[in-house]
């Protein structure tokens, strides 16, 4: 699959317009994430990459950076194939 990072970067760039977010920046440490955003992020990933986030994926390590989300997407996509 294509590298999902570009789409994830775009998502966060629109969300945090004045924040310089690197691929390894801890997004939860920015203090901008609220509970609605956490669930919206799950829905964005599922819709954009056509996969399902399962309960065993509920780990902050899977969502705390662009790199982490990208890895999760690749793992989930591999499972689907």
């Amino acid at each position: 699959m294509d590298d999902p990072k570009e789409k994830i970067r775009g998502y966060f760039a629109r969300l945090f317009r004045n924040v310089d977010l690197q691929d390894d920046t801890d997004i939860f440490a920015t203090g901008f994430v609220n509970s609605l955003m956490a669930m919206q992020l799950v829905m964005f990933v599922e819709k954009e990459f056509d996969l399902t986030i399962e309960n065993e994926d509920l780990d902050l390590k899977n969502f705390n950076s662009i790199n982490a989300i990208s890895s999760l997407i690749k793992r989930r996509s591999a499972v689907r194939v």
Partner: protein, 380 residues
């Protein structure tokens, strides 16, 4: 863009309406007076497969879309808000398991919930905690292969009869959602009566004293109760309540049309007076506007669009505030009759007030919609 029900959705809506007119409308005022819903009706609702309408077929549900689910909740809401509350809280529990439950929990609960063999209820609020959900005082501690939970939940709709509760608690500092079965050791249930509205929703207090919960009954993971389980369950609840408000408003309008066409004052039917027509016009317009917001939220749910979370907040806010005005005017049109137990509009008014409090108070939504919508605009 096409805003029109599919033939199947229109057919389902007609079936829902017929069911409600046959089995709920004629008895709803009695349910309200008796402060309970007969178990025979709940069984009948289960038999109709209404308790698992949106659940996937593989889990025993009907696999219907969220618009169809909304149509059901509108029709049931038109008949009796207390019965609609059952669909709401039961659906919130099922939704939590469907979305974040383990394979074991899905297997154990979903098909039974879908068939109505077990009833689910939602345990978030407490004596000291309403809107400020993150401050729940209920605590759970891991002990060997289970958890011990201590605390108290209050205002739990259908707590008097539910078989399983979705309970939110802090687990060693981590917000967590648990399924707690009715027969769990350490759980005691105390009925609540004398509420203003949705009086037949069989509310209860739950007392958890060293309540023992198997470790596999965590929904999702420890620490994700408020960030992932709470939002999707409240989203379901708000969607249901918003549709239920449309139903109450529709009920008000239909009652007023009947009454204004039969009641004469000063030699003319009420419907012929311009000030009465103005109130009816406001009812029609606001009910239709709320229904459209519900369609929008439902459409986003069906296509998996993250904007559904804020669209549902907006639908719930608009629908619950408009129905309070609509029901108030419905009583006004009915005059003294509207204040009597002989007419359902007094029940609609009491039930409508409750809609502004549950699943996010009007004031909480007034603060959060602007914040969240700004966030959505960034993503558009």
């Amino acid at each position: 863009m096409k805003i029109e029900l599919t033939p199947q959705q229109a057919s389902d809506k007609a079936s829902f309406r017929a069911f409600v007119d046959n089995y709920i409308v004629p008895h709803a005022d009695r349910f309200d007076r008796q402060q309970s819903i007969p178990l025979s009706l709940i069984k009948r609702i289960g038999k109709q497969r209404y308790l698992g309408l949106h659940l996937p077929v593989q889990h025993g549900g009907e696999g219907k879309d969220m618009i169809t689910l909304g149509l059901l909740h509108e029709e049931v809401g038109r008949g009796c808000s207390s019965v609609r509350s059952l669909l709401t809280v039961h659906g919130m529990v099922a939704q939590s398991i469907l979305r974040w439950g383990s394979g074991l929990l899905k297997e154990r609960w979903l098909s039974r919930l879908a068939r109505g063999e077990v009833i689910g209820a939602y345990g978030l609020t407490e004596p000291n905690v309403g809107s400020d959900a993150q401050s729940v005082e209920t605590r759970a501690e891991r002990f060997r292969d289970f958890y011990l939970m201590n605390g108290q939940k209050k205002w739990i709709s259908f707590g008097q009869i539910a078989d399983v509760f979705l309970i939110f608690a802090h687990c060693e500092g981590k917000p967590t959602a648990f399924l707690v079965e009715r027969d769990s050791p350490g759980l005691s249930i105390k009925p609540i009566s004398g509420m203003l509205g949705t009086r037949a929703a069989m509310l209860a207090e739950l007392h958890l004293n060293d309540c023992r919960i198997p470790k596999e009954n965590v929904v999702g993971r420890e620490g994700f109760g408020f960030s992932h389980i709470l939002p999707i369950t409240l989203d379901f609840g708000r969607y249901s309540v918003a549709w239920g408000c449309v139903g109450i408003a529709q009920g008000c309008f239909e009652a007023c049309i009947r009454y204004a066409g039969e009641r004469k004052q000063f030699g003319s039917y009420l419907k012929d007076y311009q000030l009465i027509r103005k109130m009816l016009t406001d009812m029609i317009t606001n009910t239709k506007a709320a229904r459209l917001l519900c369609y929008q939220a439902g459409y986003y749910k069906d296509v998996g669009d993250p904007r559904t979370l804020t669209e549902t907040l907006i639908a719930k806010y608009f629908a619950s505030t408009m129905v309070a005005r609509v029901a108030n005017n419905a009583v006004q049109i009915h005059g003294a009759n509207g204040c009597s137990s002989e007419y359902s509009v007094q029940r609609y008014l009491r039930d409508a007030k409750v809609m502004e409090i549950i699943e996010g108070s009007t004031q909480l939504l007034e603060v959060s919609i602007a914040q969240y919508e700004c966030q959505n605009l960034a993503l558009t």
